[in-house]
Symmetry: C2
Subunit: 339 residues, 2 copies
């Protein structure tokens, strides 16, 4: 019932081989014949059969995007969507399709679909969560992989990352320049590189200014709004109050803002507050949030390009590539002195 390449060949009066050559834009086909085949294709509205194609050619023109954490926690923020869009732009240009591999909360082994041999030509791991399943899969996988964010345990894997450390450092330096002295931080999870790096940047800035990193001013969060709320509550109960708080994600900054408000503090009059990510919500908050912008779309595009090049060059001999993109400090009202 479905037209096959044989039908096309018959209709155009050529062999299947020639029809295939036309379809795949191979050279060495008589222009007249080529046009005849194209006409047959148009007339029949022929579409090549994908499984047959990938079975025969051993490539699928499909890449996977692996999002290795249950969405609920981080999903409220548009990070992944923007990342995916960046990837999709490049994939659309190069005729690749995208398979989404979400670790939903209900899945016992989230990377099941990826196991399908011959299904994917490559994969992008969308965030550097270092869980067991994932590491194991990455270590034994045979298709090219690019990670967004670094995975320390696997130095041999190419990655694209944002300069979290420098971004955080610039941000805290800005606070110091504004005259803040006791700067607290609500960190991201320490099992994620981004969490560690942003904390490192915080330390860098303090150290460079000759200030100590005080444990009582540090609290580990999970990047979620809720954990920001909680963290702020804890920080406010400690012996002496901070005059500024650096939350390692905008969502945590939002939670922190609510907690501070609930405790009767005014931002920024009583307490400065800054975040990281520059999600759209950052402009919507009152006061608008000072934060660090990541080039998320660009991150996705770069990851996709790296991956597709790797697939195309179809060799693992390529040097492991690493790209670190710069961040941008976005100054708004939430750390304005004396307002």
């Amino acid at each position: 019932m479905n037209t096959t390449l044989d039908d096309i060949a018959r209709r155009a009066g050529v062999s299947r081989s020639t029809a295939s050559r036309v379809l795949n834009n191979h050279p060495h086909v008589n222009p007249v014949v080529r046009e005849r085949v194209w006409q047959a294709i148009r007339e029949t509205n022929y579409q090549p059969n994908h499984p047959a194609r990938s079975l025969a050619s051993r490539r699928s023109q499909v890449i996977g995007i692996i999002i290795p954490q249950p969405i609920n926690t981080l999903f409220a923020d548009p990070y992944f969507l923007l990342l995916i869009e960046g990837i999709a732009q490049v994939c659309n240009e190069r005729q690749f399709s995208i398979v989404l591999e979400l670790a939903t909360s209900t899945a016992e082994n989230p990377y099941r679909h990826i196991g399908r041999r011959g299904f994917l030509d490559g994969a992008i791991v969308a965030s550097a969560v270092e869980d067991q399943f994932l590491l194991q899969w990455l270590a034994q996988e045979t298709i090219p992989v690019v990670v967004v964010g670094r995975i320390m345990a696997l130095p041999a894997i190419p990655y694209v990352d944002v300069d979290n450390r420098q971004g955080a450092q610039k941000l805290v330096e800005h606070l110091l320049n504004q005259g803040y002295q006791r700067i607290a931080t609500i960190t991201g999870p320490m099992n994620i590189v981004a969490g560690r790096d942003r904390f490192a940047g915080y330390c860098d800035a303090l150290t460079a200014a000759g200030l100590p990193v005080l444990p009582e001013l540090v609290y580990e969060g999970t990047f979620s709004e809720q954990s920001g709320y909680q963290a702020m509550q804890v920080l406010l109960q400690r012996t002496s109050l901070p005059d500024a708080v650096f939350a390692a994600s905008d969502m945590m900054a939002l939670g922190a803002l609510k907690a501070a408000r609930a405790a009767g503090l005014r931002i920024p009059a009583d307490l400065a507050l800054v975040g990281f990510d520059d999600i759209p919500l950052a402009t919507a908050m009152t006061p608008p949030l000072t934060t660090v912008r990541q080039p998320i779309g660009e991150l996705g595009q770069t990851a996709a390009r790296l991956l597709l090049d790797r697939i195309h060059s179809d060799s693992f001999q390529l040097a492991v590539q690493r790209v670190v993109l710069p961040t941008e400090l976005i100054i708004r009202d939430s750390c304005r002195r004396g307002e």
Copy 2:
């Protein structure tokens, strides 16, 4: 190099047919043999070849999610992500993979990948944008499709939708009960059913209260923050001011809020403002936004179930199913009288 089913069969001392039967859980296999085959599979860490499988069986265990609008406009809100998560939950349970079909701004024909024959067992259209390409594709496609939101032009396609009309009606009724008289609305795009339905609900509520629908209180937006800003500017320049504004999306409500602020109005003291969607940002706004919550995750789950059932029953004879999920009115401070 890669283990094949033949290797498994040889290793277990059976024929390929039997190995295949074990793999696919067919009945009529001796339990002893079955265990022997499983053992071979475990030992070799065998994974079936996906293209070969779908070529032979004529099904792929893959569905597509089509997002038919460039992301930039709406992407700042987590709607799609939550929808996708709902779909993914059901797909994970039933061992289906998800292919994402994003209409990026750079793609001339966004539905190219979908054309691959045999690649998808079915598709979910994630929003009822009625553009030409999509309608054409839907009309001629041979795989089962479910639409999230209705497409009026194609009554034969099953859909899952949210009761936008009733939701908007309840919301506007609430405003009326609060004593607001001149209620303006910033509508969604009128080429989207959700836009039309929310406007219809607005009209329903006014009409039921014996009030006219005044053209000077209606302005068409695009669901985006920017268009909300613009719309509010226009509304505020008209002869007599509204005492309440119903924006058909939370993002537009945010834009409207900023415009109203810029014009020196206080919300809700001078002007009540309500939205639609209940995105996380709604709670983060000052004041928190009264809005209508859609069960987005449930929407996705239902769409996926409908689709997979349709695929499984592998017939188009099934009655076209339609599901309309209720919304929930979320009352917050942005329409509190006299504050």
